[in-house]
């Protein structure tokens, strides 16, 4: 069996420790190269191209004019505002699954089946979920039919018609899609909680709510942290599919978020320089959120 023989120099100096380090570098290199090449470098390029006027082929240096133009563009601010508003859905995207997970944890009859069912929508593509949601919220869609049937016809909504409502519909759909993964995550977290802790607390006389607050919740903090990160990442990336299929960013720019704006600016308008800038902004936002959650919710690795 061949041993590590990457250009073996005088074997005298190749101690085990050196070999181990060499193997470490060689094994990690492909991954590092791939990530640098396809993630690291493009981010750097974002920075470069944001200072240019770029149509995808030729880039002419224009300094900060792309930046100033972009920051004066109301669409950017609308998009940022939309992202911020959608961030409001995150507590629900965490809270609801938490409740459901707690319910599941009570182990009612058939809970395993329930668990499978709750996670099933996760396997569905966001595109498909978006399509179904579009049907649900559309003017002639299911929601209105229900409302109509119940007699509240003056409450009927119009997904495409009203700006704030479109965003709301988007938010609700987003929460729905995140319920599956987060519930599973929290349920697993609850399962790792030592039942003897709970029992000890109960013997000490603690009520259910107190147990939940002082024992269950702290234990779950790492899971909540992970769920938060995953949810926010999805909010800034996977949400694109929902927007693409449900609203196309509209009406107007009411449901355009930064990630959708990138697509629009780049592909539809051919303004790659600005799109690169938006990409950079998006990256910075996610980075900031990542750091903030590290401080806020729990300790890092």
């Amino acid at each position: 069996m061949a041993t590590v023989s990457v250009n073996a120099p005088k074997a005298r100096r190749l101690t085990l420790k050196r070999r181990r380090q060499l193997a470490g570098v060689v094994f990690a290199l492909p991954a590092i190269a791939l990530v640098i090449g396809f993630i690291g470098i493009p981010i750097g390029q974002d920075v470069y191209y944001s200072f240019t006027q770029w149509d995808g082929q030729t880039a002419t240096w224009v300094g900060v004019s792309t930046w100033t133009q972009a920051f004066h563009n109301p669409n950017l601010w609308t998009a940022l505002r939309n992202n911020a508003l959608l961030l409001l859905s995150v507590p629900f995207a965490l809270g609801l699954p938490l409740c459901i997970a707690v319910l599941l944890h009570q182990r009612v009859a058939g809970w395993r089946i329930f668990r499978t069912i709750y996670f099933l929508p996760t396997a569905i593509s966001w595109v498909v979920l978006g399509l179904v949601a579009e049907r649900f919220f559309a003017f002639q869609g299911t929601l209105n039919s229900i409302i109509h049937a119940l007699g509240f016809s003056h409450f009927s909504t119009n997904l495409l018609g009203y700006q704030s409502e479109a965003l709301l519909a988007l938010g609700i759909t987003f929460i729905f899609t995140m319920i599956g993964t987060n519930t599973m995550l929290f349920l697993t977290g609850l399962a790792t909680l030592d039942p003897s802790l709970e029992e000890a607390a109960r013997i000490d006389g603690a009520g259910r709510w107190r147990i939940f607050r002082n024992i269950t919740l702290p234990h779950l903090s790492r899971f909540i942290q992970l769920a938060f990160v995953m949810t926010v990442i999805a909010l800034f990336s996977a949400l694109f599919s929902l927007i693409f299929v449900m609203t196309g960013g509209g009406p107007g720019y009411a449901t355009t978020t930064v990630e959708y704006l990138i697509y629009q600016t780049g592909f539809n308008q051919g303004d790659f320089g600005t799109a690169a800038l938006y990409g950079l902004i998006l990256f910075v936002i996610t980075g900031v959120v990542g750091i903030v959650q590290l401080r806020l919710i729990g300790s890092s690795e």
């Binding site: 069996m1 041993t3 074997a11 005298r12 100096r13 190749l14 101690t15 085990l16 420790k17 070999r19």
Partner: protein, 387 residues
């Protein structure tokens, strides 16, 4: 067939910790050498350097006469039995044992033959097709040994192989390992923190502490002639009584001051030991519990004691005694979770299983003066004059 030589071997870890400090030790071909000491004493590090799993900072290490400092483990032809066995979970017992041979390119039939041979010695023939997770702790330990035996190496290295077994199994396996080692006649370095294993299994035992070799000798030598107070207190159970005491002169001899009582130092010790002067720094006096005789009546030279505690072990009773009228400066200093605690001078003595003795009783004891040990009060080194 090979011998092993550590020559001033030192290991310093990145954080400036001297795990092994100038270790010089020779293991003869076929010898069973036990490295023993408390945790952190460097015994495992020494073993790992021997295996090639740790770099040697300075000094030289030789196997079979050849310096192996920079030789890779696989080229040293040593086999190792790990504390947690480290069996390959996805392979059967037979595959585990034959793995090293397979790497070296032996033919299938050769491998099968050697595996069978080792399995027979270890009584594993019924388990050859099982996976490790289907084996008991004792069986896994034997497979780990089998893996080492099969290679017919120049040396066996064992890292506390019995520490994960329950007490009874440990006793069985002690005999097994000793037997197999004698059968195969291969130099073996065996690391343990258990001094009973060390005493019963080793041809010679090397006691280590804080990275330094304290003493290497046959088990009996260690017991009878410890080189310092650490070795004296480490080897033997229950441990040797070590008493700090000053000396005073008496009738052109010396007497040990034990509180208000006195112990005459027999004349032979004056010539065989380099004792300090009277009213000097004093000594550490050592006497093993088995050499403390409980007397039924009074007798000349007896010491008066009081029973502080008793432990009934079934085969014997251990009594913890305090010397009556012990003064402060003869306190028996004990490390109690790292802190120094002064206790009334206590001696441990052994009594027969049916001796009727209760806490608070007054007992007269006599030391067997042929088995006194004297150690330097500062360095702890034995004061015995070596010829």
């Amino acid at each position: 067939m090979a011998d092993i030589t550590f020559d001033g071997v030192t290991k310093i870890f990145a954080d400036k910790i001297r795990a092994v400090d100038e270790l010089s030790l020779h293991v003869a071909d076929g010898e069973f050498m036990v490295l023993v000491g408390p945790s952190g004493c460097g015994k495992t590090t020494a073993l790992r350097m021997l295996a090639g799993l740790e770099d040697i900072t300075s000094g030289s290490l030789s196997i079979g006469g050849a310096v192996v400092n920079n030789v890779l483990p696989k080229d040293r032809d040593v086999a190792m039995v790990f504390q947690n066995y480290a069996l390959y979970p996805h392979m059967t017992v037979a595959q585990n044992m034959g793995f090293a041979l397979k790497i070296r390119g032996l033919s299938k039939s050769d491998i099968a033959a050697k595996v069978l041979e080792a399995a027979t010695i270890l009584r594993l023939t019924d388990y050859l097709d099982r996976r490790p997770k289907a084996l008991s702790g004792g069986q896994r330990q034997r497979v780990a040994m089998g893996r080492a035996i099969v290679r017919s190496p120049q040396a066996f290295l064992m890292d506390e192989p019995l520490s994960n077994l329950d007490a009874q199994l440990r006793v069985e396996m002690r005999l097994e390992i000793a037997r197999i080692q004698r059968l195969l006649g291969v130099a073996t370095v065996y690391v343990t923190h258990d001094q009973i294993e060390a005493m019963t299994m080793g041809d010679r035992v090397a006691v280590m502490r804080g990275g330094k070799l304290q003493q290497v000798a046959t088990p009996q030598d260690l017991y009878d002639h410890p080189d310092n107070d650490f070795v004296a207190g480490f080897v033997g159970s229950p441990p040797m009584n070590l008493l700090r005491a000053s000396l005073e002169s008496a009738n052109d001899g010396l007497r040990v001051v034990l509180g208000a009582q006195r112990l005459d130092v027999p004349a032979t010790y004056l010539s065989s030991h380099d004792l300090p002067n009277a009213d000097g720094p004093g000594v550490i006096l050592g006497i093993r519990p088995e050499d403390v005789e409980v007397l039924s009546g009074d007798s000349a030279g007896a010491l008066m004691t009081r029973v502080e505690r008793r432990e009934a072990l079934g085969a014997e009773i251990l009594v913890h005694l305090s010397l009556v009228d012990a003064k402060e400066n003869t306190a028996f200093v004990v490390n109690d979770e790292g802190a120094l605690v002064a206790r009334p001078t206590t001696l441990v003595a052994k009594m027969g299983p049916r001796a009727g003795v209760a806490v608070g009783d007054q007992l007269n004891v006599r030391f067997n003066v042929e088995h006194l040990h004297f150690f330097d009060a500062d360095s702890g080194l034995s004061l015995r004059i070596r010829s």
